[in-house]
């Protein structure tokens, strides 16, 4: 990537190396998985297992932007639930499925817009509080609307979204959509002026404002995008489940944030990229898939994922020298 070169500096170099670290980890885990389970090296198996994870992938893409500008959004899982419920309800009310899908997208974007509006409109109201409250409110609305009901019975083509394959190949349809989204996000973040501003905001929001970066507007867009991606996730998740309920996607928000951080995105802002988070997505999935194939219990899996997460994030800190850190300060 050419842009990487223009960003060449010590800290971003680490990010670059980080991606190689992830690649090596992915290879390592694949080898270990292959030795442990005879079922691992199966093309369909790996493809399907990746596909099963991808609705989180959509959310990771936009969460990356949110984290890069130094914010956080813990309401995404609830937005998924609300989008799904509204989509199902509008289908049940007689709207065509295609329109219902648009309803899901609009709901997601609308919730995200609301988050962004509150955060940028009320200075001092931090993203964590707004989205913490939002996570209760959005799922709460889903409960108010649907109560203890579930809505299913979607048209049969709708299940193709999550379960179908492209043509006669073994490539899941959802994966094609995801790769498309990932490329769009990659270009947006790394190849456009807008993406440059995203990084600038994360590195120094005050200087960004003084440099004419429209902070409020950018936040608005990024949170809306995050909601929109939750809407997309809702469409695929609902298709996967074949029905909608207010309690779907519970706990997704922390997993999504964890994957983004594993991909080299710093929750304090300014660092990370799309390639990294995509690799982290694959890494996390293969880790879980491998453990699943040898039937590691769910709770034990959590322990291992926790260890890997904290271990991988801690590694560069342990090995990076203290002096280097001080030097940056000194020169300032």
């Amino acid at each position: 990537m050419k842009y990487r070169n223009s960003l060449s500096n010590r800290k971003l170099n680490i990010v670059f190396k980080w991606e190689w670290l992830l690649v090596i980890l992915i290879i390592g885990i694949s080898i270990v998985n292959g030795r442990l389970s005879p079922h691992f090296w199966s093309y369909t198996g790996i493809m399907d297992s990746l596909a099963v994870f991808l609705e989180k992938g959509f959310m990771v893409l936009s969460m990356t932007l949110v984290l890069i500008i130094g914010d956080i959004d813990i309401s995404v899982a609830s937005i998924v639930a609300l989008s799904s419920v509204l989509m199902a309800m509008s289908y049940k009310l007689g709207l065509p499925m295609a329109v219902a899908i648009l309803v899901a997208l609009a709901t997601g974007a609308g919730c995200g817009y609301l988050n962004g509006l509150l955060i940028s409109l009320v200075p001092g109201l931090s993203a964590i509080i707004v989205t913490l409250a939002g996570s209760s409110i959005y799922r709460g609305i889903a409960y108010i609307l649907l109560g203890d009901q579930a809505i299913g019975g979607f048209p049969s083509w709708y299940s193709y979204l999550a379960w179908g394959y492209v043509g006669k190949t073994n490539i899941p349809f959802v994966m094609v959509v995801f790769v498309g989204c990932a490329i769009i996000y990659g270009l947006l973040l790394h190849r456009t002026a807008w993406g440059r501003k995203v990084y600038a905001m994360g590195i120094n929001p005050v200087a960004a404002r003084f440099s004419g970066v429209p902070i409020a507007q950018m936040k608005q867009i990024i949170f809306t995008l995050n909601g929109l991606m939750a809407g997309i996730a809702a469409i695929f998740l609902t298709s996967k489940l074949g029905s909608s309920r207010p309690n779907i996607a519970t706990g997704y928000e922390l997993e999504v944030i964890a994957i983004a951080v594993l991909g080299g995105v710093s929750p304090s802002g300014g660092k990370g990229g799309i390639v990294g988070v995509c690799l982290a997505l694959i890494l996390m999935r293969l880790l879980r898939y491998g453990m699943g194939l040898v039937n590691v219990p769910g709770q034990v899996m959590m322990v291992i994922i926790g260890i890997v997460l904290v271990g991988v994030v801690m590694l560069p800190n342990i090995f990076s020298s203290r002096g280097g850190k001080r030097r940056t300060k000194e020169i300032q």
Binding site: Y199, N204, G212, A216
Partner: protein, 516 residues
């Protein structure tokens, strides 16, 4: 503060309270200090001068125990000592007052003074707030200030915070007090007060290390001066034995021809007109105009509303009343983006906080304000960006290995220049420069003044906010003085004198007013 035993004059000449011999400090890829010698007598004010990046801060951090030297020895009253950490240095009664008050904004004045060394009940280990508050009050009063010790630090002005910092230093019965650019954010009047405090402390036997860019400071109060250049010590002189010219030569290794190279330029059309601008609580009824080729200087105390006016024109803070006209057309500027689109550029006072993206490359910093114009329908267009960045690098003579290096790898002066480069890259017609040479060494200062002169010659208009009287007098065509949010004086270049400006700036001095 009379902790010093009575010494004979001869003893004072020979015995140093603090002596550094052959101190070196290395950082990865950088030799910050190279076998520096430095000594400090009891009861003297010893100035350390040098360009940015000369190693002054590093030296201070070694004396205060923040860093440990890689080579060399430190003697305290003739005995070798090792300052492992700031606490050890504190034990030797060494205290520092930094340029940017290193305070705790959320905590009270009392806590800021005593947090490092609280008064603790000997048996219960309970913090004795009442006693600390009393002591804080006493210390502040001894400095001629009646700041309420129970208010939070964030509610004080910069000058007041500085006084709290000095009180903090006094509270440890400091025998060595380090003042890092103490007058940089102060107005003339506040500076005077500070000088008096410093002299008083010296007479009480405290040794003061003064770091400053301003020769005024050095010649006004220092006894001796040590010059650092590129991490090396260039020597120590008694202040009355070295003149300004030689001092500059020692600092920069060359002679600086002219400090305020202001050429006479004929004014063109009116670029900016401000009428009755007001912002609740900050300034009211501000009117002035700026023509092409003109430098309008804004003088006044820190906190008199100069910066706020500038920021409101730049769209950072909203105004409650008034009109802004750019080239005769009334405009409404709601954010910096719009200001930039009207051709207004703003050089913020706090360059690091408000102007720079340390982790981004020089190129990315320079082009960030105009990145939208450099794209190919939104897509980045690296060759065009690089062309502009390289041009700026050349124009401002920024010393950098290349445009792809991060700004954090540059020296302070060059970082400042990058902010200017960012500003100029946007090709503004109206430039607002807030303390353009604050914290800049003489060499860079002259360069910046030269650039300003060149810019107005090209037909730009510049609004310059400065607390430095010679700069205001030397560079401005017209001078506006503000006091407590209002314009209290307008002077042309010919009629302005230091006395007139001062009179307008200090109607009622409220240096130590309490905010409540």
């Amino acid at each position: 503060m009379g902790f010093l035993e009575v010494d004979s004059v001869v003893d004072r000449e020979d015995r140093y309270i603090l002596e550094l011999k052959g101190i070196s400090k290395f950082f990865p890829g950088l030799k910050a200090l190279d076998r520096v010698d430095f000594n400090l007598r009891a009861g003297e004010i010893h100035a350390i001068v040098g360009e940015n990046g000369a190693g002054k801060s590093t030296l201070i951090k070694i004396i205060t125990g923040v860093y440990q030297p890689d080579e060399g020895d430190i003697f305290y009253e003739g005995n070798t000592v090792i300052f492992h950490n700031p606490t050890v240095a504190n034990r030797y009664q060494i205290a520092a007052v930094y340029q940017q008050p290193a305070s705790f904004p959320h905590l009270t004045v009392t806590e800021n003074i005593f947090l490092g060394h609280p008064i603790i009940h000997p048996t219960t280990k309970k913090l004795m707030w009442k006693e600390m508050k009393e002591e804080a009050k006493r210390l502040l009063r001894s400095l001629g200030s009646d700041i309420n010790p129970s208010v939070t630090m964030s509610s004080l002005s910069v000058a007041q915070q500085q006084i709290v910092e000095i009180a903090k230093a006094l509270s440890v019965n400091a025998r060595i007090l380090i003042m890092d650019e103490p007058t940089a954010s102060l107005t003339r009047r506040e500076t005077e007060d500070l000088y008096n405090i410093a002299r008083k402390l010296r007479n009480d036997g405290v040794s003061i290390i003064l770091i400053s860019h301003l020769f005024e400071d050095v010649y006004e109060i220092a006894d001796r001066v040590t010059v650092l250049r590129d991490g090396k010590s260039m020597g120590t002189w008694n202040v009355n034995e070295i003149d300004e010219k030689d001092l500059i030569k020692a600092m920069v290794g060359r002679e600086i021809s002219q400090l305020f190279p202001k050429n006479k330029v004929s004014f063109g059309k009116e670029l900016l007109r401000v009428e009755g601008l007001s912002r609740l609580g900050y300034f009211s009824d501000i009117s002035f105009s700026l023509r092409a080729g003109e430098i309008v200087g804004f003088s006044g105390l820190v906190g008199s509303g100069r910066t706020e006016v500038a920021q409101s024109i730049f769209g950072i803070a909203p105004v409650d009343a008034g009109k802004i006209l750019v080239e005769g057309k009334e405009v409404s500027i709601k954010n910096p983006m719009e200001a930039i689109s009207y051709g207004i550029g703003y050089l913020p006072e706090d360059r690091l906080e408000q102007g720079l993206f340390l982790l981004l490359s020089i190129n990315d910093n320079i082009t960030i304000s105009i990145i939208d114009q450099l794209t190919n329908r939104g897509w980045l267009n690296p060759p065009r960006e690089h062309e502009i960045s390289n041009k700026m690098l050349e124009l401002l003579q920024i010393k950098a290995p290349g445009i792809f290096h991060p700004v954090s790898s540059l020296s302070g002066g060059n970082q400042q220049k990058v902010v200017v480069a960012k500003l100029l890259a946007a090709r503004p017609k109206i430039l607002i420069m807030d303390e353009p040479t604050k914290g800049v060494d003489v060499g860079a200062k002259a360069a910046i003044h030269q650039i300003m002169s060149d810019l107005v010659a090209e037909g730009l208009g510049i609004i310059m906010i400065s607390s430095e009287m010679p700069e205001i007098l030397g560079m401005s065509d017209n001078i506006i003085v503000m006091h407590e949010g209002r314009i209290t004086g307008v002077f042309s270049r010919s009629e302005a004198t230091q006395e007139k400006l001062m009179e307008a700036a200090v109607k009622v001095d409220r240096l130590t007013q309490v905010v409540s």
